[in-house]
Amino acid sequence: MALNRKVGFFKGLKYKGGGPMWAWILHRLSGLAMVFFVGSHIIAGFLTQQFGSDVGIAINIVYENWIFQLVLFFLVIFHAVNGLRVTLLDLWPALLEYQRESIWLEWLVIIPLYVLILFTVLKSALGL
C-alpha cells in the first residue's frame, strides 16, 4: 500500500517556499475574502435600498466597523499591489529575472500605503 498523494492545505503550508509562496497564499485568501465581502456588500446595498431590510443594515454596520475596515484595507491593498506584480511579470516574462526584487519592492509599496491608511482610520475611529 502506498500513501495517498494528496497534499492537504496544512501540509502544503509547512513547505518552506519563502516570499513568493506566501504572497500567493495571501493573494488567494485576500481575493476570496474580497469576493465574499464585495458580494455581500452589493447584496446588502440591494436589500437596504429595496426593502429597507435590517439584514442589509446589519451587514453595513459590520462594514463600517473600523477593525473590519483595517483588515479589509490590508487585503485590498495587498491584493492590488501583488496582483499588479503578478500581472507585470506574467505579461512581460523577461521581467521574471527580477522576481526577488519584485517581492521586496511590493512590500516597499504596501507598507507605507498601509501605514498611511492605518493612521487616518485610527485617527477618525479613535476620534483623535
Binding site: 500500500m1 502506498a2 500513501l3 495517498n4 498523494r5 494528496k6 497534499v7 501540509k11 502544503g12 509547512k14 513547505y15 518552506k16 517556499g17 519563502g18 513568493p20 509562496m21 500567493w24 497564499i25 503578478v86 511579470l89 506574467d90 516574462p93 523577461a94 521574471l96 529575472e97 522576481q99
Partner: protein
C-alpha cells in the same frame, strides 16, 4: 566534526499503516552531503532505510527529497549549507510514497511524456549537421539542463492542489523544443499546453524555480511559453 541530529521520514508499506519519524545522532563533517549521512545511517544503523540515489553529484536526478522543508537533491546539499545541526528529511510532496523516501514517479513521467518531449523535424536530413547559429542555440540552453528530478513539480502548490496540472518539469521540457530553431513541433506542443491543466495552472508561485537544483529559470520558461501561446511568436 560536528554532531547532527538526523530526523528521517519512515514508511514501510508492508508493516506500517501510517508513517513515522526516526531520529539518528551522527558525527559529520560540515562538507558532508546529506546523502552521505543517509548512507551512513543505511550502512551502520538501519539497512532498511530506502531511498533512490545513483550519481552522487547532482546530475542523475534520483535523490530529490524534502530537506528541512524544502525540495533539494540530497547529494547536492552539504551539511554546512543548511546552517543547523538538526536535519529533517522527508519524501517530496504530491506523489504517493511507496517506501521511506521513495515515491511513485510514474505520474511525473506520464506528464513529461504528454508534451512531446522529443525532436520533431520530418524534412529531409542534410548529409551533415543542420546548421544553427550560436544565438539560436543559446535561446533554449537553460531548459536543456533538466535532469527530470521532479523537485520543481512537487514543490508547486498548484500541483499539490490539483495533480492533473502538467507541472513545471513538463513545461520546461516542452520549452526546450518549442524554442529550438531546428524543431517543427512547436504548434502542436503549444496546443497541448494551452489546456486547462496546462500552463494556466501556473500561478507564478516560484517554488519551482527556487527548488530546481540545476538553477533553471523555470517560471521564466513557463512565462515564455504562455507568451508564445498568446502571440504565436517564438523569438
Amino acid at each position: 566534526m560536528q554532531k547532527i541530529t538526523l530526523k528521517l521520514f519512515r514508511y514501510n508499506p508492508e508493516t506500517d499503516t501510517k508513517p513515522h519519524y526516526d531520529t539518528f545522532e551522527l558525527e559529520a563533517e560540515p562538507t558532508d552531503r546529506v546523502l552521505d549521512l543517509m548512507e551512513k545511517v543505511k550502512g551502520y544503523h538501519d539497512g532498511s532505510l530506502s531511498f533512490r540515489r545513483s550519481c552522487a553529484h547532482g546530475v542523475c536526478g534520483s535523490c530529490a527529497m524534502r530537506i528541512n522543508g524544502q525540495n533539494m537533491l540530497a547529494c547536492k546539499t552539504l551539511v554546512q549549507d543548511l546552517k543547523t545541526s538538526r536535519i529533517t528529511v522527508e519524501p517530496i510532496l504530491g506523489l504517493s510514497v511507496l517506501k521511506d523516501m521513495i515515491v511513485d514517479m510514474d505520474p511525473f513521467f506520464d506528464s513529461y511524456k504528454k508534451v512531446m518531449p522529443f525532436f520533431v523535424n520530418d524534412e529531409p536530413k542534410p548529409a551533415q549537421e543542420r546548421h544553427q547559429s550560436i544565438e539560436d542555440r543559446e535561446r533554449f540552453d537553460d531548459t536543456t539542463k533538466c535532469i527530470l528530478c521532479g523537485a520543481c513539480t512537487t514543490s508547486c502548490p498548484s500541483f499539490w492542489s490539483n495533480d492533473e496540472y502538467i507541472g513545471p518539469a513538463a513545461i520546461v521540457n516542452a520549452h526546450r523544443f518549442i524554442f529550438d530553431s531546428r524543431d517543427k513541433g512547436a504548434a502542436e506542443r503549444l496546443q497541448i499546453l494551452n489546456d486547462q491543466f496546462g500552463v494556466y495552472r501556473c500561478r507564478t508561485i516560484f517554488n519551482c524555480t527556487v527548488a530546481c537544483p540545476r538553477e533553471i529559470q523555470i517560471t521564466q520558461a513557463i512565462g515564455e511559453v504562455k507568451k508564445a501561446i498568446a502571440t504565436g511568436s517564438l523569438d
